[in-house]
Assembly symmetry: C2
Homo-oligomer: 422 residues x 2
């Protein structure tokens, strides 16, 4: 008898559903209700979640009784199951770890000294420009597979180390090629405005025009990205340039997100008219911007891995954002210069220990709020009938153990589109 | 033809030997020379390292040519091989994660509030006292297996959550039982002087007498530990009590180590007459103690996992210790209250990013200096002919990647006593 494309998980010790406590357009990371069902079961058919409840209810279900032989059953043995993580901020298109930067920074070197030693973002740009699309796709696919092993099933992936028309398109095509070989969901983002490339030093306005008038139309035409991202900060792009790029992105029909407030404060309120999906980093946020941000659809995506890896003692003030009613997501910021980790559990550990987010808040920020930050909350980020059957199984008895046992990976299985893998 | 108990590793991209650059009693973490051999090979026979060199040399070796069919060969494919980590400070005898503490601390609760909520060390003591020896041995064995998966082959394991004659002996017997089922090397330490147990509150002198006159003789008689440890700090045991316990340990023929300077400064020099093998934590060290410490055989074992997990922004000042010539080791401090990690790569990441130790220093601190901290440097901590064949294989091309890719485990194989496992 052929098996249905069906999967039944039973004996789940804690199922974290992240179900909406009330119907609404959005969720907040302040959500302490993560919707736990104990001794739970989940049925997935045709790549979607069909029903959930207790194991006892599932075993009594007449339809399930009739079709049980056609359905693959996984006994979770009391483990914790939750929605696959949504990592809404990664830079996976690079060729090499930046070990020179790492070692020089430890020795106390600043940005310029690192650059002189052949490190810095310049080395990543050189690497990407020289690499073939296939080589880059291989690197991205390796990262996607590692992400899945750590419980992540949806990944935002940025270009941004090419910084020329050809190399940005190559980077986005590499993301597309890798995504085709990976069962999870990849959301590509065009980050031509990452930094001003070396050949345009001192001519950022000219580079911004190329981003807007050459690169962006080509990206849109090739349907290579769903979002445009800008690194708006000291040493990267100004608020004015960012607004200009946002305007062009809106004209191209692309979604908008930005790196904001990592190194210095930029006023956020003027940007909200563009309805950015997410503003990321947010180490420096003006108090006066919080009410408008909280009232908006924009998610604040915090990436504490960068603070950790740079050896900073300060982290984004998650508690202030949550208290103001801002929706907070967590992401890895996976990149070779400032956050070489693909582990969402590590990001959650940092959120709990260094940003004082509760384990429940960290879970919500890494799942449903990450999905909001990619405008995928209709399909991702919670375990509810009709949503994609993307799940992670952790070998722990209590969900709080996921950020508690730090530096190790307790994810033992990832289910993507109703298919068990990893 | 029966295989010899022989193992040949070839095509090692970087073999970190940690060989002594000069003959001497000890090594320093300031050692930047970690003895790299590229395109290396290592031959292990009878559980020992027999020879090392380049792959080319190994393939030309007449003895190896003759015996090659009898020897198991592992092609390391350009990966990095180093001595198995020596984790010289762990507290693995506990029953449950301390999730109440974790969540309460995030919410801003202090020690007392956590204790009132049923958390704190009291909960670990209750758990250990109620548990059977077999149950505790199972927990220790689980930790040892996880440690090996992350590249650790030698582990120091402390009692210290029993704090009664019966429960301390039970804890040490559990360590012994687990050690028998694990191929690596376990060094048991008696930590009866961890804290004053609740039933002796306000009567620490009385408890110290029980530690010295009842527990320690029983531990020595049963050969249940090689070391005695004391938590010398505010809220635990005073300098005077520590000296008293050290004296009793010396009389019992047991080695000496201590938790020192975690919460407050204690002058170290008076203790050096007892020749402690290691002083651990060392967040607060008086400048005046550094010359004597550097001139002694005592290792400073830093455990940054505790600082990380407690959300502190301050870490032990490794650079100051190294500059003064003190031998610095790194350990996980694996325990349920303040450092729930078994990952030496995580400890090394913390050392590099937050204590500004170079990757080479972190490697030395996690291997040969850890071995010094257990007085096992004659057998462990470096890849040299005659030493135990305990090795870790990491799926990286450059050793600096081990602390660089943080929050993930790149160890793909651990070899213990010349046998490949994990």
């Amino acid at each position: 008898m052929p098996k249905l494309a069906g999967l039944l998980l039973v004996n789940i010790g804690q199922l974290l559903t992240l179900r909406a406590p009330v119907t609404g357009l959005r969720r907040s990371a302040s959500l302490s209700e993560i919707g736990i069902i104990e001794d739970a079961a989940v049925l997935c058919v045709g790549g979607k979640i069909v029903s959930l409840g207790t194991t006892k209810e599932a075993l009594r279900d007449p339809w399930l009784k009739k079709n049980r032989k056609k359905i693959t059953e996984i006994d979770c043995g009391g483990r914790v199951v939750l929605p696959g993580f949504v990592d809404s901020h990664t830079h996976p298109v690079f060729t090499q770890p930046r070990l020179v930067d790492f070692e020089k920074r430890i020795a106390g070197a600043g940005y310029e000294e690192i650059a002189e030693a052949g490190g810095g973002i310049r080395s990543s740009i050189d690497g990407v420009r020289r690499a073939s699309k296939a080589a880059l796709a291989g690197k991205v696919l390796g990262a996607l597979r590692d992400l899945a092993k750590h419980g992540t099933t949806t990944v935002e992936a940025k270009s941004g180390y090419g910084l020329s028309l050809e190399s940005e398109l190559k980077s986005l095509e590499a993301i597309r090629a890798a995504a085709k070989q990976w069962p999870g969901t990849v959301v590509p983002t065009f980050l031509g405005a990452h930094v001003v490339p070396p050949e345009y030093r001192g001519r950022s306005r000219e580079y911004v025009e190329i981003v807007c008038k050459e690169m962006m139309p080509a990206v849109a035409k090739g349907k290579l990205a769903g979002f445009v991202d800008v690194f708006c900060d000291r040493g990267a792009f100004s608020a004015e340039e960012t607004a200009h790029i946002f305007g062009a992105a809106a004209e191209s029909g692309l979604g908008i997100r930005a790196h904001m407030g990592q190194l210095s404060e930029t006023r956020i309120e003027p940007f909200l008219q563009f309805r950015p999906t997410s503003l990321d980093h947010m180490d420096n946020v003006n108090e006066a911007d919080l009410p408008a941000l909280a009232a908006s659809d924009t998610v604040a995506t915090l990436v504490p891995g960068a603070n950790y890896f740079l050896g900073l003692s300060q982290y984004p003030d998650a508690r202030r954002l949550i208290a103001a009613g801002v929706a907070v997501a967590l992401a890895t910021d996976y990149n070779p210069g400032t956050s070489p980790t693909i582990s969402m559990p590590m990001a959650m550990s940092l959120a709990c220990t260094h940003m004082k987010m509760s384990p429940a808040e960290a879970i919500a920020a890494a799942t449903i709020n990450g999905a909001w930050a990619l405008r995928l909350a209709d399909r991702k980020g919670s375990v509810e009938p009709g949503k994609d059957a993307d799940l992670a199984v952790f070998d722990v008895e209590d969900y709080r153990e996921i950020p508690y046992w730090f530096g190790v990976n307790r994810c033992v299985q990832t289910i993507i589109g109703g298919v068990a893998g990893c």
